[in-house]
């Protein structure tokens, strides 16, 4: 399912956050969005998901432009894991199923079947407070995937993690997306993360956000992350993205 954004504008009262933005995310493609802090990346993501309405232009997800329909197609993964502390890891992962009216046992069985693949086997009954940062993030990602939506909207999913866990989680997400390709929009402030995980990286300007450059990634979701990010083409692409980011920040 593709995402198509045309002439998008958004403003909070007087504050213009996004201005005349165009972006295409083809089916089963990951597009990374990088930009200066506060440029409206997260707002853009919420617009795509139907959590916000644009003030100008259109956002269409699989051809659907109305906000409730977009919401039905997109799974939103926020910056913090936002696991509900009163539920077990399993019940957190099964939230979308429960919200759709599925019974507790069935929802648990369906979500629980994925725990092994997410490296969470044995932690089904653990409360979020008992999990490490990386595990919490995996439960949050599992919760997003279990929702079964065709489009993933990821808002700095690994921002809260330390550098080592972060690199591990990137490699893990790359593997998950290789195994099961999805249409995804990934917001991050980390150029390297965007280039490694995405097929294409869009560089946004300072507020109001516009796209100042679009760069193809040299090695999207390569199996060997460490080799991929140190390859000369990758380093060159990173420099190019950094230069665009700097130019767009001014």
């Amino acid at each position: 399912m593709s995402v198509s954004i045309r002439g998008l504008g958004h403003a909070y009262a007087e504050l213009q956050t996004i201005d005349r933005l165009d972006l295409e995310v083809p089916d089963r493609t990951v597009v990374g969005l990088v930009g200066p802090s506060g440029c409206g990346k997260s707002t853009l993501l919420e617009l795509i998901c139907g959590l916000l309405e644009p003030s100008a232009g259109t956002v269409a997800v699989g051809g659907a432009a109305a906000a409730p329909e977009r919401l039905g197609q997109c799974a939103f993964m926020p910056q913090r894991d936002l696991l509900l502390p009163w539920y077990s890891a399993l019940d957190n992962a099964a939230l979308a199923l429960r919200n759709r009216g599925q019974g507790k046992a069935g929802a648990r069985a369906e979500a629980g079947a994925l725990f092994e693949r997410f490296g969470l086997a044995g932690f089904e009954r653990a409360r979020p407070g008992e999990l490490s940062g990386g595990m919490r993030q995996r439960v949050a990602f599992l919760r997003t995937l279990v929702a079964g939506k065709p489009v993933l909207a990821l808002d700095e999913p690994f921002a809260a993690l330390d550098a080592i866990t972060r690199a591990e989680m990137q490699a893990w997400l790359a593997a998950a997306l290789r195994a099961e390709p999805r249409t995804a929009v990934l917001v991050t402030h980390d150029v390297e993360e965007a280039l490694y995980l995405s097929d294409r990286v869009a560089v946004l300007s300072a507020r109001p956000a516009r796209i100042v450059a679009e760069l193809p990634s040299p090695a999207p979701r390569a199996a060997d992350r460490d080799a991929a990010v140190t390859a000369p083409e990758f380093v060159a692409a990173r420099e190019q993205a950094m230069a665009a980011l700097k130019a767009g920040s001014q």
């Binding site: 998901c49 919401l71 997109c74 939103f76 926020p78 936002l82 939230l95 919200n99």
Partner: protein, 250 residues
């Protein structure tokens, strides 16, 4: 250990000092009173034992007033907080009035309730309920409103209805605040019951304190106060126990 030992030692030292000062007549001399008006802890303890049946009978009356009033306040207070949370219109209309109502002293209301409801248990129950209603309502409402907006967005993107957001995110998140309100209510409830009895009653610990005061039965008056405090402490303990079970994730 420190949590119990230090206050215990301090209490023992204070009671010991009181015992010596009262039993030697020193305290009565300093206060310029007859010795029988300044009972020692030992005398209070023996009064507690000798009048155990009378105290128990009256304690049961007061305890019933407290429990009924508290029960009403918990149901009505929490229920009203939920209604105000779900309806912005109701909240905007009623919340300022609830806050303003606290400027009306319960001292003024209690005699009117006596006129309306007679000498039975109900005016006391209503006084207790009125005193307890405010902390429960205000704390629960604040708790319901403190849900993380990002968590609400996350739930919406997982197809949650308004009711599911309330049931799975807002209500569990409000429980700690609800219990804070309940604990404050438990502390003030005995004050309400005793006050209701002072205005007009034929039994209860407040009534006993009043009649003992008139008959200069000071030791038993103190004994009644000890029973009243013990009741309040047990109630706080029970609420804390329930809180630990219900809010187990903390």
């Amino acid at each position: 250990m420190r949590r119990w030992v230090l206050p215990g030692l301090l209490l023992a030292a204070l009671v010991g000092a009181w015992q010596i000062a009262a039993s030697t007549g020193f305290l009565a001399d300093v206060l310029g009173l007859e010795e029988f008006l300044v009972p020692s802890p030992g005398e209070i303890a023996s009064s507690l034992w000798e009048s155990r049946e009378l105290l128990a009978e009256n304690a049961w009356v007061t305890l019933r007033e407290i429990l009924l009033g508290l029960g009403c306040a918990l149901l009505v207070g929490a229920g009203f907080a939920v209604l105000m949370h779900l309806s912005g219109l109701l909240r905007d209309a009623a919340y300022p009035l609830i806050v303003a109502s606290q400027t009306v002293p319960i001292v003024v209301v209690a005699p009117i309730l006596l006129v309306w409801l007679g000498y039975g248990i109900w005016p006391k129950v209503v006084v207790v309920a009125l005193i307890c209603f405010f902390p429960i309502t205000v704390n629960t409402l604040a708790g319901l409103g403190s849900a993380d907006p990002a968590a609400v967005k996350m739930m919406r993107s997982l197809d949650a209805s308004r009711w599911q957001v309330f049931r799975r995110v807002e209500a569990p998140g409000a429980l700690p605040s609800f219990f804070t309100g309940a604990k404050i209510a438990v502390v003030v409830a005995p004050i309400g019951a005793v006050f209701g009895e002072w205005v007009g009653s034929s039994s209860g610990l407040g009534h006993l304190i009043l009649t003992d005061n008139a008959q200069l039965e000071v030791a038993r008056e103190f004994a009644a106060v000890v029973v009243l405090s013990a009741m309040a402490l047990i109630l706080i303990g029970l609420v804390t126990l329930v809180e630990r079970r219900v809010v187990a994730w903390r």
